[in-house]
Amino acid sequence: MTSRWGALRDLLYGMTGYEFARHAMQIRHELESVFMVVTMGDLIGVPVLPPYYSLRLLPYVVPQIETWKRHMVRRKELWEKPEYDLLEM
């Protein structure tokens, strides 16, 4: 019985909340990148104003640094996305 309810709940979540949650996480991810640039920008050559304070945050972001750097390299600007490619239109 519980599993049926569980399945139904998952189904409803999939129909309604899933998209919202995914979207929220996407925005969260984008904000994370911005946050990393303004605090750890020095790591990719963007000077950060008070390095003394940004160093204080460093221990907490150690695990994210690799992913963030990769994300920054692969990051595409709006006009670089396929749907805005003029040649393909």
Binding site: G17, R28, P51, Y53, L55, P59, V62, I65
Partner: protein, 340 residues
């Protein structure tokens, strides 16, 4: 109003700064004010963050990097060693990383970053800034006398408070926004309460410190900034410009102290032409200072017969500056004030 009256009538102004171009006697006046206040029974800390600080010289004791060192009863002096502070801070960060992730050593890339960040000039500036925050937010002295580096730098430090203030407020807001999206996703997924965001906690800690110091430095009720000026043309022009800039950064200017005034009684004695010319020149600029700064002038400090170092000289100057007879009355012009 005299300098003494300013201190006596505004006891809440506990953060005191003397600013001016290099070599005008900022450290001398800071030390003298600190000495006098300590003599009045107030607990006073005089401190400097300048790597070439002169507090050790004026008190004739090596106090560099030794924390607050007692000088006389109620008076402590401190010279911050920024380099050592940065080194200790780096080690603290490294240790935190090792502890948090159970590592034997900090990953090379991260360590390189810590080293590179620490080599930047901006690191020293922000470390010094934090050292000042550290000193003033503790608030365990009655008076804090900040022996500033020359004007340009002084303004730089003060404006830094404003810039850091904005930076930290913005990124704290950004972090809070991120938290909201986390919260939103968690609610959709019917997940339990999120664990605490340690970064947000750190940001709030940093923000509160920066905000507090920024508030203190620009608060007219708690802070008094005195300009030191000498009767010379370039110094007057520079001080006028600096005063305008300072006003723009909301620095609470409390008045002007005119230093290095040659004793007027010399003119009666037979003195060489050279000295007579200097006195006449000073007279001209003293008139200009009076016309420009008027009632904001709090004291005229005489040029002493020798440099002010060591406690006996500081005491003598304190007597001249804060004694009962002290006041903002300008020195008698060389030709006599009432001379027809």
């Amino acid at each position: 109003m005299s300098l003494r009256r300013v201190f006596e009538s505004q006891p809440h102004r506990r953060y005191i700064m003397f600013g001016g171009k290099g070599g005008l006697g900022k450290t001398t006046l800071s030390a003298t004010a600190a000495f006098w206040l300590a003599g009045q029974g107030k607990r006073v800390l005089i401190f400097s963050v300048d790597p070439q600080a002169s507090l050790s010289d004026i008190f004739q004791r090596d106090i560099f990097g030794k924390g607050p060192v007692p000088i006389v009863q109620n008076l402590w002096a401190e010279e911050v060693d920024a380099d050592r502070r940065i080194r200790e801070y780096q080690d603290e960060i490294r240790k935190k990383i090792r502890d948090m992730y159970g590592l034997d050593r900090v990953p090379e890339e991260i360590d390189n970053y810590i080293q590179a960040a620490s080599a930047e000039p901006a690191m020293e500036e922000s470390a010094i800034f934090d050292a000042v925050v550290d000193i003033i937010v503790k608030g365990d002295y009655d008076y804090y006398i900040y022996d500033l580096v020359p004007l340009g730098h002084a303004l730089y430090y003060l404006s830094m408070a404003k810039v850091y203030d904005e930076w930290i407020t913005k990124i704290t807001k950004l972090r809070e926004d991120m938290r909201q999206y986390d919260q939103m996703a968690a609610t959709m997924r019917r997940e339990k309460v999120l664990e605490e965001d340690q970064i947000l906690n750190e940001l709030i800690y940093i923000r509160d410190r920066i905000n507090a110091s920024s508030r203190i430095l620009t608060d007219r009720a708690q802070t008094a900034f005195f300009f030191v000026v000498v009767p010379e043309e370039m110094i007057i022009l520079d001080t006028k410009r600096a005063a305008e800039l300072f006003a723009r950064f909301d620095v609470p200017i409390a008045g002007y102290v005119v230093n290095r005034v040659l004793p007027r009684e010399l003119i009666q004695a037979s003195i060489p032409e050279y000295l007579r010319n200097r006195i006449t020149m000073q007279d001209r600029y003293l008139k200009e200072i009076t016309a420009t700064f008027g009632s904001q002038i709090l004291a005229y400090v005489p040029e002493m017969e020798r440099d002010v170092t060591g406690l006996p000289m500081i005491e003598r100057l304190a007597e001249r500056l804060f004694g009962e007879a002290s006041g903002p009355e300008g020195p008698e012009p060389a030709g006599g004030r009432g001379a027809p």
